[in-house]
């Protein structure tokens, strides 16, 4: 079961994306490919920002092809703008919990405090993004995803602006959280090292063609020609 992408075709302007694959529930998958190859487009299709022209998307057997982004069992972290900068972290998380009113129900304050503790930001509820470092902002965004409690998490290079050490730290934190929640995670990245560190499986996207997931280590140790060209000659072991 898991996330089934059945003969999906989607178009964004003149760019065409074709995908036909299945991702088993609870796995972490890296999505790599050259820029413009369609990595983010794939995430947009899964998240519901880009309607498909044909094909179906199913989660746990249920057809989600025509659901709105908010109704899908999917949460997403963007490259930027994952939280509203004019609201405190607490208010942001309240909106994630109650998108209709933005107000706190009973027990919500505890849930928010709990999620902040889990991402290592206890007592940050009253802060704004501008009062936090890049790493802390990423952690707060992760707390938002935790509260949304969706089984599928899409990461569209959300940690690209962080330094290498901080990025590695965030990826470990996401792994840990995803493991605990049993989330299925797709991580878009330029960096094959991210894939090695984070994802047992990797999807390669080439010129709008999405290939089925393969074992990350095998794939990167022995890349097919297209991927080899992208990774660079010196990359082969």
């Amino acid at each position: 079961m898991g996330l089934q992408i059945d003969h999906v075709h989607a178009r964004s302007g003149t760019f065409e994306l074709a995908a036909d694959l299945t991702i088993s529930a609870g796995t972490r998958v890296a999505v790599i490919g050259a820029s413009g190859s369609g990595k983010s487009t794939l995430l947009d299709v899964i998240a519901g920002f880009l309607p498909v022209e044909s094909g179906n998307i199913r989660w746990a057997g249920q057809d989600i092809t025509h659901m709105s982004p908010a109704d899908r069992p999917v949460s997403i972290l963007f490259q930027d703008t994952n939280l509203f900068p004019h609201l405190s972290i607490g208010q942001n998380l309240a909106l994630a919990l109650n998108p209709r009113t933005g107000r706190l129900g009973t027990g919500d304050a505890d849930r928010i405090a709990d999620s902040l503790t889990r991402v290592g930001l206890p007592s940050f509820a009253d802060r704004r993004l501008s009062q936090m470092s890049g790493g802390q902002q990423s952690r707060a965004a992760l707390a938002r995803v935790l509260l949304q409690a969706r089984p599928v998490l899409l990461l569209d290079e959300p940690f690209a602006a962080l330094g290498p050490a901080l990025k590695a730290e965030m990826l470990d934190l996401v792994s840990q959280v995803a493991e605990a929640e049993g989330m299925t995670v797709l991580l878009v990245s330029h960096d094959p090292q991210d894939a090695r560190r984070f994802a047992p499986q990797t999807i390669v996207v080439e010129a709008g063609q999405v290939h089925p997931p393969q074992e990350t280590v095998k794939l990167l140790d022995n890349p097919p020609p297209g991927l080899r060209a992208y990774l660079g000659e010196g990359h082969a072991p």
Binding site: F49, P69, A70, F84, H86, L95, P99, G102
Partner: protein, 505 residues
């Protein structure tokens, strides 16, 4: 979907407010026999005064803008800020100030009399032009100043390296910029002056100095000839629409122009003749703009203690009208802060308040006494007239907010209400405060449609000032004018300030 419904309702009410009254005016005008020579005279005068007003404003603005662009002196910031003030200055207040300077017993005549020079007459074409230049010289100066500041610094650096003289500089840098900016500035001011009502009402009049708007008012108030008023309204509508569309193609009105506090870096600033010319123009402009305002203050302070209960009552009406029209305008503007919404809002520029007023009068009359509804009609018309400005202020920010956060919004699944309450309003607070201040001040000072419907029980403060002037109670008029000025600026300040305090950044 709910938010789309709100947009549609807002659009329909605005469109209805255009189509309804215009239809009523067209239907009524059918019964009309034909224009009299006086009507054609009004058309001629309207075109003449608008042309001359625009010409003079632009002509004087060029040297003033150049001086402001290349000099820095103490008070420059104040003077530039002052250039934005006429936008929210009530016309009747400015008229009183101008009368105090240029009027029969004004400052200038008191200076000229001992010299045995003939007395200046303000009423007529010259008075209308004076007031229009007073209001539009600042606008033209700001437009041209913007043009000057937009010239890349490299051009002036190049001119300095080449050792360009004043002639060469004019030919290669200044003239091309002016040729680009000036026609647009002229067109905007021409359009503004086409619909001049309050100025013509107070300083014009008589068969030789009547604008179309004033003629509409007169056929309504004095002759109660609704068909003639309607026909004149159609004429005015056609004129404003044509001129407005032409002007729109040529320029954009800077409502909130930022960055005018810079100075053009030039290397020819030490030329003594240029220094003298610049000082002269800046001095003249400051004198021309500040003296009338100072006179309003001076005369008003003496008169403000003599104000009767009816003035305070009128002030109360005005505050309610201003707040009402601000609320209505923002209710329209928030859902219409889009590209097509701004097009719709432009009707507020093309459609003159008086034409709208006549139309509403005709619609309302079968059901109610229009005079009882004077304040409601005024508030509605004022909101409508402010709408294009408010949309121009809000739209860029509203669109940025929408593009920046639309994905996060749908990823979270925010409801329309949560979006409005937690994202749009807080992030839009600053321009919203500015727009609200502008609307409130414009509505507070408006002397237009209220004059059509006026009766003593439903007067607004500007109308009250006009009535006091008409009754030659100049001291009270001056006091009431000062009160009006304080209320207009006060409302503007309050809203604008409210938007800045704790604004989202």
């Amino acid at each position: 979907m709910a938010s789309r419904l709100v947009s549609i309702i807002a659009a329909l009410t605005v469109a209805g407010l255009v189509i309804g009254p215009v239809t009523a005016v067209i239907l009524r005008a059918e019964a009309f026999g034909g224009f009299r020579p006086a009507d054609w005279q009004a058309l001629r005068f309207t075109l003449l005064q608008a042309t001359l007003s625009a010409l003079l404003s632009v002509l004087f603005a060029i040297p003033v803008a150049r001086a402001l662009a290349r000099r820095s002196f103490p008070g420059r910031g104040f003077l530039v800020a002052l250039l934005g003030a006429p936008f929210i200055l009530p016309v009747i207040v400015a008229v009183l100030g101008l009368l105090a300077v240029f009027g029969q017993s004004g400052l200038l005549n008191r200076l000229l009399a001992p010299l045995g020079l003939p007395e200046l007459q303000i009423y007529g074409l010259q008075g209308v032009l004076l007031a229009h230049v007073f209001f539009n010289l600042p606008l033209a100066t700001r437009l041209i100043l913007q043009g000057w500041l937009a010239i890349p610094a490299e051009h002036f650096r190049l001119a300095a390296t080449l050792g360009m003289g004043r002639r060469a500089m004019w030919r290669s840098i200044e003239y091309p910029m002016l040729r680009r900016i000036v026609p647009g500035a002229f067109a905007v001011i021409f359009v503004i002056c086409l619909s001049s009502f309050a100025v013509a009402l107070t300083l014009g009049g008589g068969p030789r100095a009547t604008t179309l708007e004033l003629a509409i008012y007169q056929s309504m108030r004095f002759d109660f000839d609704l068909a003639r008023a309607a026909a004149l309204g159609l004429l005015q509508l056609g004129l404003a629409l044509t001129a407005g569309l032409i002007a729109l193609r040529m320029t954009q009105v800077p409502v909130a122009s930022r960055g005018l506090d810079r100075r053009v870096p030039r290397w020819d600033r030490t030329d003594p003749t240029a220094i003298c010319t610049d000082a002269l123009w800046i001095g003249l402009a400051a004198l021309f703009l500040l003296t009338p305002l100072a006179m309003v203050l001076l005369n008003g302070l003496a008169g403000i203690t003599t104000l009767g209960a009816s003035v305070w009552q009128a002030a109360g009406h005005s505050i309610l009208v201003a707040l009402g029209s601000t609320a209505l305008c923002l209710l329209w503007a928030l859902p219409l802060a889009t590209r097509w919404g701004e097009w719709l809002g432009l009707a507020g520029i093309a459609l003159s308040p008086l034409v709208l007023g006549i139309g509403l009068f005709l619609i309302v009359r079968p059901f109610a006494n229009p005079f009882d509804l004077a304040l409601y009609v005024t508030a509605t018309v004022n909101a409508f007239v402010s709408l294009p400005f408010v949309l121009r202020i809000l739209r860029p920010d509203a669109e940025t907010i929408r593009t920046d956060y639309s994905r996060l919004r749908s990823a979270l699944g925010l409801s329309g209400w949560a979006w409005l309450r937690w994202v749009l309003l807080p992030r839009l607070k600053r321009p919203l405060g500015f727009a609200a201040g502008l609307t409130a001040a414009l509505s507070m000072g408006d002397l237009g449609v209220i004059a059509l419907f006026a009766d003593p029980d439903h007067a607004t403060l500007p109308l009250k000032v006009y009535q006091l002037m008409g009754a030659y109670r100049m001291e009270q008029a001056a006091g009431a004018a000062l009160l009006l000025l304080c209320l207009s600026l006060g409302l503007f300040w309050m809203f604008d300030r409210g938007g800045r305090v704790g604004s989202a950044d």
